[in-house]
């Protein structure tokens, strides 16, 4: 039974991937891509990686899908999509790589170091009970710090590009009128989404969840609000910037301030590690949500500049 389910999942993934590549219509490609993301999330569940499944569903399928749909909206106005002709070489490369991967994974040597065991041993000192949160926010928190920087840079680049385009085009959001059904629905849904985001964040310390997943859910709520024409982005730009950078700012400040007590960079005081992590995660959730939303929000409106 499980084998049948897994093979269906695998075949479904392949079919969706093929659909993304070969459909003539870009819209259909994007829908296939979103379906691919959802199936991939299911695959992660089957592989017993619920954290990845949450992230994949929220970011891979959800937000990326919204961004891609938005991008199509802009492309439509300009030129017809021409289906790609050079797919043979990439396809052959992919097949060859897949075969090599299968062969090499079959002959995989037994790892001499077992990191999961080390993580389990050190878990009591980490301040949290969920091993993945412990790795992300404590054992390898330096990676996470830099990942947040990557997200922040993405938002900064989007802002810079948006400023560049602002001179030639402006969103046509002014003209659209609010859809009463969507607006009513969204205004009731928004608090629930916020609640779920906070719950996922809180749950992260003892079960799958955490800042990234919570942030992605928060961003989804903001996107929905924006689509329903609630203009939450119309706050002072400097305030928005502070919101985007707040997570990174707090993380860096905590990471650095512990050095004053003579501890190495990013070492939480052991007795308070749990509180420190929860605090950092809370601001990170807020900033990640804003950053992901701003990537959507920064994309130009319905009119793109005509470059001559």
């Amino acid at each position: 039974m499980q084998f049948a389910f897994d093979s269906m999942l695998g075949l479904g993934l392949l079919a969706c991937a093929a659909g993304v590549f070969w459909s003539r219509d870009l819209f259909r490609s994007v829908v296939m891509f979103i379906a691919f993301g959802l199936l991939l999330a299911l695959t992660w569940v089957r592989l017993e990686a619920p954290d990845l499944a949450l992230a994949e569903a929220a970011i891979g399928a959800g937000l990326t899908g919204v961004l891609l749909l938005d991008a199509i909206g802009h492309l439509r106005q300009h030129k017809e999509h021409s289906p790609r002709n050079h797919w043979l070489l990439p396809l052959l490369c992919c097949i060859a790589l897949a075969l090599l991967l299968i062969l090499s994974l079959n002959a995989r040597p037994e790892a001499s170091i077992s990191l999961p065991e080390l993580v389990a041993e050190s878990l009591p000192e980490s301040g949290v009970e969920h091993p993945i949160t412990a790795v992300l926010l404590n054992f390898r928190s330096y990676d996470t710090l830099l990942e947040i920087a990557v997200l922040l840079v993405a938002a900064v680049v989007a802002m810079a590009l948006n400023d560049g385009l602002a001179a030639t085009a402006r969103t046509s959001a002014e003209q659209s009128s609010r859809d009463p059904v969507l607006a009513g629905f969204t205004s009731r849904l928004a608090p629930v989404i916020l609640l779920i985001a906070v719950y996922v964040l809180w749950a992260g310390s003892y079960m799958p969840g955490g800042a990234f997943q919570g942030g992605a859910i928060l961003a989804a709520g903001l996107v929905l609000l924006k689509l329903a024409d609630f203009h939450i982005e119309r706050y002072a730009e400097s305030l928005l910037r502070l919101g985007l950078a707040l997570g990174f700012l707090v993380f860096l400040a905590v990471a650095t301030s512990v050095m004053i007590g003579g501890r190495p960079f990013l070492t939480y005081p052991e007795a308070f590690a749990g509180q420190f992590i929860l605090f950092i995660e809370a601001v990170l959730t807020f900033s990640i949500g804003l950053i992901l939303f701003s990537l959507f929000n920064q994309s130009p409106g319905q009119e793109v500049p005509h470059d001559n």
Binding site: P109, A111, S112, I113, S114, F139, V157, A160
Partner: protein, 480 residues
């Protein structure tokens, strides 16, 4: 207090400052920050010279559970180079960006994130951490390329992003395979664990492909010229001098630290052959370009080829030849960094003054802008490998290594490379020294010339003081 984390904290803090307080005089602020970073890098250099390499466990978690940073001779040399080039580029940018009101707001945050990521890569001792560093470098670099918002810049930036992402994914897949097989991401631990089997070789091949893509090694170079040639002058300088070196550094670290015994000699020779083709193809393309910045950008493609000679000269050869190759390659990396940054800054000043981009537009410029052209000339001396310059010493070391290992074909490549470099550099000189032309120029700030001259002078000075960095650059396995 340990200096290593400061080299990450300073640029990250300054990135936040420039992002959150755009009203401050960001240029002056940047200059202060970068001088601080230069001082820290110099102190760390001194530390390593006296006490030897050191490790730093972030969060007090030791590898493989945590992430360990490594500061050895090569690391501190690159940290110092980064800070030096950055301080001059920042100085240049203050004056250059006066004409770019809009770009200036985002230049400084991206500049600082880029510096933080570069420092992070030089210090990293962990394969996944290197991946995160590469992502940060790439995204900040792409953002800087697209700063102007012009169509050609956006196209170049997008192309750069796609190429870099493909490279990142290939690298990440390799990292995942190695982690699956050995259970650790720490480069130092992996070096004693790696065995010759299919999964290891596939992983190393994937990582090599990804890093070659990011380093723009022939034939994966086509994204580089439009990105480096189309960006603002200080951005081009930083990209060509530092950013492409970061992925090469990882490649060299992986092969020399961990995979030395695993890489087949034929693969090493193949990488060398790619380098040789890059030298010839890049040089030829540089010669053919009509725009002067594109000429310099293709010159980067060619110069990156020399770095690839490390592999055939060091792998499967005698210890002595390997050491010479390692020192020569890293000295080339340094001197090309300074020379190319100087060249991009000088050319940026010329283009700013003339207001046109083509090589032929520079006719007669020598009489009007002697200092910028002089800086260009000094940088060319190092790129061509003429004595006295860092470029000459680097090629001399590489040549000695080739002779010692009896690989005369690489000697021929080195000599041919210098000739090709001379041909495209002299094309610029022959145009700019035309007597009958009288170009109309806008006056530029003398600080622009000064910055280019300073960097070019360092490239030349490496011809006299090469012993100082070279002493630190012994083979990595001897130090750890």
């Amino acid at each position: 207090m340990n200096l290593i984390p400061l080299l990450l904290v300073i640029p990250l803090a300054w990135a936040l400052l420039s992002l959150l307080l755009p009203r401050l005089p960001l240029g002056l602020l940047a200059l202060a920050g970068i001088v601080l970073q230069l001082g820290t890098a110099a102190m760390l250099w001194n530390d390593v010279q006296i006490h030897g390499a050191s490790r730093y466990a972030i969060g007090d978690w030791v590898a493989p559970l945590g992430i360990t940073l490594v500061a050895d001779g090569l690391t501190v040399t690159l940290l110092a180079m980064t800070a030096l080039i950055a301080v001059v580029c920042a100085f240049y940018a203050i004056f250059y960006l006066r004409a770019y009101e809009k770009e200036r707001r985002y230049f400084w945050p991206l500049f600082w994130f880029l510096l933080a990521a570069l420092n992070g890569i030089w210090l990293a001792g962990d394969l996944f951490n290197l991946y995160v560093g590469l992502e940060l470098v790439t995204l900040a670099a792409v953002g800087m390329v697209t700063l102007s918002g012009e169509r050609h810049a956006l196209a170049a930036g997008l192309r750069y992003l796609y190429a870099a992402l493909l490279g990142s994914l290939a690298y990440l897949l390799g990292v995942a395979l190695l982690y699956g097989a050995y259970g650790t991401l720490d480069l130092g631990q992996l070096s004693s664990l790696l065995e010759a089997n299919l999964i290891t070789q596939l992983a190393l091949a994937l990582m090599t492909f990804g890093l070659l893509m990011k380093t723009a090694v022939f034939p994966l170079h086509s994204w580089l010229p439009p990105a480096h040639g189309g960006a603002l002058a200080p951005v081009s300088a930083i990209l060509s001098a530092l950013v492409v070196k970061s992925s090469f550094y990882i490649l060299a670290r992986i092969w020399m630290d961990a995979g030395n015994a695993l890489m087949p000699v034929s693969a090493a020779q193949l990488l060398g052959a790619l380098g040789a083709l890059a030298i010839i193809w890049g040089g030829w393309q540089a010669f053919r370009q009509s725009e002067i910045k594109m000429l310099v950008a293709y010159s980067t493609v060619a110069q990156l080829g020399y770095l690839m000679l490390l592999f055939p000269l060091a792998i499967g050869q005698s210890q002595q030849s390997a050491i010479l190759a390692w020192q020569g390659t890293m000295l080339h990396l340094l001197s090309h960094g300074f020379a190319k940054a100087a060249m991009f800054l000088a050319v940026g000043t010329l283009v700013l003054a003339v207001g046109k981009k083509r090589v032929v537009d520079m006719a007669g410029i020598s009489a009007k802008m002697p200092l910028a052209l002089f800086a260009f000339g000094l940088a060319s001396v190092s790129l061509m490998g003429l004595p006295p310059s860092g470029g000459f010493n680097a090629k001399w070391l590489l040549m000695q290594s080739a002779i010692q290992s009896g690989q005369w074909h690489w000697v021929a490549v080195l000599l041919a490379g210098s000739l090709i470099t001379a041909s495209y550099v002299f094309r610029v000189f022959s145009v700019s020294f035309q007597k009958d032309a009288d170009p109309q120029i806008r006056p530029t700030h003398p600080a622009l010339d000064l910055s280019a001259l300073l960097l070019a002078a360092i490239a030349i000075a490496l011809g006299f003081g090469a012993a100082i960095p070279v002493e630190l650059l012994t083979l990595p396995e001897e130090m750890l």
